[in-house]
């Protein structure tokens, strides 16, 4: 059916094939094809700017009504002529600019194939030239607009992402609540550090520097990640050998294949087997596995907070 659909090859019943493809297929591929084709169709050129660039619907189908010719069913058959057009365009691109100018006429003649008997309508050279220039200009305009649109779209998307990220983060008070325990501890230790330093401070001016440095060290403890600060110590051969020997014992007694359990399990088993039956130790003893419990508490808080935020 679609024997022709070149740049301006508009038939009254089909509409713009390239546009339809762009609108209905996956947006990426459609856009790509259109750009390659250098589409300059009139219908889409005008309607496209009115597309509401909603961020949420960036992958969704185009809202109906913006492009009357973009019917869902036509998606498949429209792809075929596109490829052909592409081929033709490949041929055309090899020719010079003048060949470009001649193209509309060629297409025009093709479009009138069905009525062979009619005499060809006369078109003056100026007319066709003006037409060609106009179409070229339009094509350039459309391309530019397209680019701008794309830019806009990306920007919007970026904004949306940032906003989403912000929304995902916990609110400040909750964070504070979670961190309060750990920060308290830190403070305490820092205080102690200061206490230790005080005698040095009283020692005189010369020791003030020392205090500064130690203060820095205290900060260095808060390194993120799995970094630890250790002093470099001279390692002798003996200590190395000792380490190897200790490693030997360790691997022999606690290494793989030694079938070890945890004290928690052992004690829980005792609770289970004893005369006075009771639950596993981590539930019986309040201070057992405090680290794990604190972590669980933290995760629970996080989860609760997440539940409070309405999902978008």
């Amino acid at each position: 059916m679609f024997t022709l659909c070149l740049f301006t090859g508009l038939t009254s019943d089909t509409g713009c094939a390239s546009c339809a493809a762009a609108g209905l297929g996956s947006s990426g591929s459609g856009r790509r094809t259109r750009r390659r084709l250098g589409c300059s169709c009139r219908c889409c050129g005008r309607t496209q700017p009115t597309f509401p660039p909603t961020a949420a619907g960036r992958r969704r189908a185009r809202p109906p009504g913006t492009h009357p010719s973009a019917g869902g069913r036509r998606q498949r058959p429209q792809q075929r002529p596109q490829t052909r057009a592409e081929k033709q365009r490949g041929k055309a691109s090899s020719t010079s600019k003048t060949a470009d100018i001649e193209k509309p006429t060629e297409s025009f003649t093709l479009s009138l194939e069905s009525s062979d008997d009619e005499a060809p309508e006369e078109v003056t050279f100026e007319d066709s030239k003006a037409e060609a220039l106009r179409s070229m200009k339009q094509a350039l305009d459309t391309a530019r607009r397209e680019k701008e649109l794309l830019k806009e779209k990306r920007r919007k998307r970026q904004e949306l992402f940032q906003e989403q990220k912000k929304r995902k983060l916990l609110s400040a008070d909750v964070l504070e609540e979670i961190d309060s325990a750990s920060s308290k501890k830190q403070k305490q230790s820092e205080d102690e550090g200061e206490q230790e330093e005080k005698p040095e401070k009283e020692g005189g001016d010369g020791k003030k520097k020392k205090k500064k440095r130690s203060g820095k060290l205290a900060n260095a403890r808060n390194l993120k990640g799995k970094y630890t600060v250790t002093t470099v110590k001279e390692r002798t051969l003996a200590s190395f050998q000792q380490q190897v020997a200790e490693e030997f014992i360790r691997s022999r007694l606690y290494g793989p294949g030694t079938c070890r359990t945890t004290s928690n399990e052992m004690l829980s088993l005792q609770n289970k087997k004893g005369w006075n039956k009771s639950a596993a130790v981590q539930f019986v003893k309040k201070d057992w596995a405090s680290k794990e419990k604190a972590k669980a508490e933290k995760l629970k808080k996080r989860w609760l907070h997440k539940q409070q935020i309405p999902s978008c």
């Binding site: 102690e192 206490q195 230790e196 005698p199 190897v244 020997a245 022999r252 007694l253 052992m266």
Partner: protein, 690 residues
């Protein structure tokens, strides 16, 4: 008997170190126990298993083996050094590098002339034991692979060495390996894993007994090099094995990773036959973790391991049944106090091997005074940790002291003493006192006078150094000596009286000396009792010295009259109840009630007791723990029933009980379950129906 507000302290995270190895000296009846942190403890089995000496550990001193040679104690460790200990001054006397890498085992021959050590590089090195030192003699022929265990033949002609996958028998004269006994690997999945002979024993009839990592105890004929018998004892490792070498060599015990101790005996399997063989006889299950150290006394099996407890299990065919001797003993806590208490300031000092912690006790709301006994009081201020003081250097802390006002803190390692001044004005500050007198160098025990103006330190030559401490300086005052120039046992207890006039010292030779601090000389000596004092205290009002000994006897000695008091004599004539005498933990601390001078408060691990000197002693058939019956009786009948010993067992696993000045009781507990929860992983045992 009185009501107390009790501070139940559970924030002392005392964690004993795992027992690595032990050695028993059957001549002196002393057991040396080496812990994983390098500390060595000496227990006196003649004196109610009292822990009379503790040699503090050191970083990096990983003791793997201990060996007694007569009265001398040697240790060898993974740091590659052989150490002899000075058991008087409780410090390493000298160390000798064996130059063979980490040392896994040490063993002396029966004559006590030679010491063999097994090294990482596969050599067995022989050292000659000389008077004051040891000297390298020679290497036996070197084999590839580490020497894990060693045992001399009683004739000192051969040495059996356990290695990976085999046991080698060396001729001690020539140094040649005469036999190699190949040990089977474990069956099943671990077949590719080398088997380690953790322990080996050599009997005088040339029988070799080995325990290995495949869980086997194997009996070999050393003459022919053939395997006689294999006992698969456990699925895990047989970590230790020991022969009762001092007796007839008819019993062997093996300790496993499961926590069991298994006895093998050389007996005839049927009654009338004479041919004897090794038979597995008993299994003891007293440990939750690996048993890595064993000792075989004449009457008992002593075991210790990862669960840090020392267990003395009497063999019931060797002791009389249903006596104190036949009771199982578990020693979980040290027999000395690790907690210091500033009674005026309400501070607690906790001593760890590597640090000191100073805590301030919490407070309750003062308006709450009503309530039944046992109620919880609402807390106004929680206890807080004021200072955590890390030690300097490699040596572990051996003793510490806190003055009663809380303003001074001192601690000592083997090599040095440090004194700190603590000040509280809104924030706390701690200043090290510089330039301590040079006499304060090696100290076993520290003690402040009650007005915090003097520091007493027991030094090496059985002397006490008196140092005046003040804001400005720290000045050496005097050295108290009871006999000049005589080398005596070290003092392990110091106690100053409240009025500042008396100082009592006790040493491990069971002597108690009293010094007059005004005249700075020896006042008198308490008659020597044949059991070591575990704690001493001077009564603040009457100035009587109370001493409690390892065999649980209590004495009261009047310092002024230089004789035992009437109360003490009455107690001795009437005798203490057997229930009191059979307690298996020593009294480690005594305090007095400032409001009621008749009350003496003392505690052991499982109870604390208030002795009321005004009440009669219990009859021999009376109930000792009678607090519950007294509670149910009407007041009028209580007087007839009550006796001098008021015992409270609500608080368990006590590290310290002390009475503050505001008459509130401080009870420092360390539940064994908390210790157990921090131990390394035990083996996974399948229990039926779990």
């Amino acid at each position: 008997m009185g009501e107390f507000k009790v501070h139940r302290v559970r924030f002392f995270d005392y964690m004993p170190s795992a027992i690595r190895t032990m050695a028993f000296n059957s001549q002196t009846e002393r057991l040396a126990v080496a812990r994983a942190d390098g500390a060595v403890e000496i227990f006196n089995f003649n004196d109610n298993f009292f822990q009379e000496k503790v040699i503090p550990g050191q970083d990096g001193r990983a003791i793997e083996a201990l060996c007694w040679v007569g009265h001398r104690l040697f240790s060898a460790g993974l740091n590659g050094e052989i150490t002899e200990y000075d058991l008087e001054n409780l410090r390493p006397q000298y160390t000798v590098d064996a130059y063979g890498g980490p040392i896994w085992t040490i063993s002396s021959n029966s004559q006590g002339t030679q010491l063999a050590v097994g090294c990482e590089d596969g050599t067995v090195k022989i050292f000659a034991i000389l008077e004051e030192r040891i000297q390298f003699q020679r290497n036996l022929n070197r084999h590839k692979g580490r020497i894990i265990s060693l045992c001399w033949h009683p004739s000192s002609a051969q040495i059996a060495a356990g290695m990976t996958d085999m046991i080698t028998i060396y001729d001690a004269e020539t140094g040649q390996a005469t036999r190699r006994l190949l040990v089977d690997r474990a069956m099943g999945a671990s077949k590719n894993k080398e088997v380690v002979v953790w322990s080996v024993g050599y009997l005088s009839d040339h029988t070799i007994i080995s325990g290995d990592s495949a869980g086997k105890v194997q009996i070999w004929n050393g003459l022919t090099g053939t395997l006689v018998r294999t006992y698969l004892v456990t699925k895990w490792d047989v970590l230790s094995l020991i022969i009762n070498a001092s007796q007839d060599e008819s019993s062997v015990i093996a300790g496993t990773s499961e926590g069991t101790v298994i006895q093998f005996q050389f007996i005839s399997s049927t009654l009338d036959q004479h041919d004897k063989e090794w038979v597995r006889t008993r299994t003891f299950r007293n440990h939750s973790h690996d048993v890595s150290a064993l000792a075989h006394t004449d009457t008992a099996v002593v075991s210790g391991g990862m669960d840090t407890q020392l267990v003395v299990r009497p063999l019931l065919d060797k002791v009389e049944k249903n006596t104190q001797e036949s009771a199982l003993r578990k020693i979980a806590f040290p027999h000395r106090s690790l907690v210091g208490c500033a009674k005026k300031a309400g501070l607690l000092l906790f001593q760890f091997p590597d640090r000191l912690e100073l805590w301030k006790l919490g407070e309750n709301f003062h308006y709450v005074h009503t309530g039944k006994p046992g109620d919880r009081l609402p807390v106004k201020r929680k206890p807080e940790k004021l200072i955590e003081l890390k030690r300097k250097g490699e040596d572990h802390i051996c003793c510490s002291a806190l003055s009663a006002c809380g303003g001074w803190l001192a601690y000592s390692t083997v090599s040095s003493v440090r004194l700190y001044r603590i000040q509280y004005n809104k924030t706390i500050s701690i200043n090290k006192v510089p330039k301590l007198p040079k006499e304060l160098r090696s100290v076993h025990q520290l003690c402040f006078s009650s007005d915090s103006s003097k520091l007493f330190a027991s030094s090496c030559q059985s002397s006490v150094i008196v140092v005046a401490v003040s804001q400005q300086e720290c000045r050496y005052l005097h050295t108290l000596k009871h006999k000049t120039g005589e080398w005596k046992a070290r003092m392990h207890l110091l106690c100053a009286s409240d009025d500042g006039k008396w100082l009592a010292t006790a040493n491990t030779d069971c002597e108690i000396h009293i010094y007059n601090l005004h005249k700075m000389k020896l006042h008198c000596m308490v008659p020597v009792y044949n059991s070591c004092p575990t704690t001493i205290a001077i009564h603040p009002v009457t100035n009587n010295l109370i001493s409690v000994h390892a065999d649980q006897q209590i004495f009261e000695f009047s310092l002024v009259q230089k004789e035992y008091t009437q109360w003490s004599r009455r107690l001795q004539t009437q005798g203490l109840l057997s229930l009191w005498l059979e307690r298996d933990t020593p009294i480690t601390h005594i305090t007095f009630n400032p409001k009621n001078p008749d009350h003496i408060i003392l505690h052991d691990t499982y109870m604390f007791c208030i002795i009321d000197q005004s009440l009669p002693f219990p009859e021999l058939n009376a109930v000792l723990w009678n607090q519950m019956t007294l509670k149910n009786l009407p007041v009028s009948q209580r007087i007839g029933q009550s006796h001098a010993f008021k015992i409270c067992k609500i608080f368990q696993h006590l590290m310290c009980v002390s009475l503050l000045e505001d008459l509130s009781l401080v009870v420092v507990e360390r539940p064994l379950l908390d210790i157990m929860s921090q131990l390394p992983a035990p083996v996974r045992q399948k229990k039926f129906a779990t």
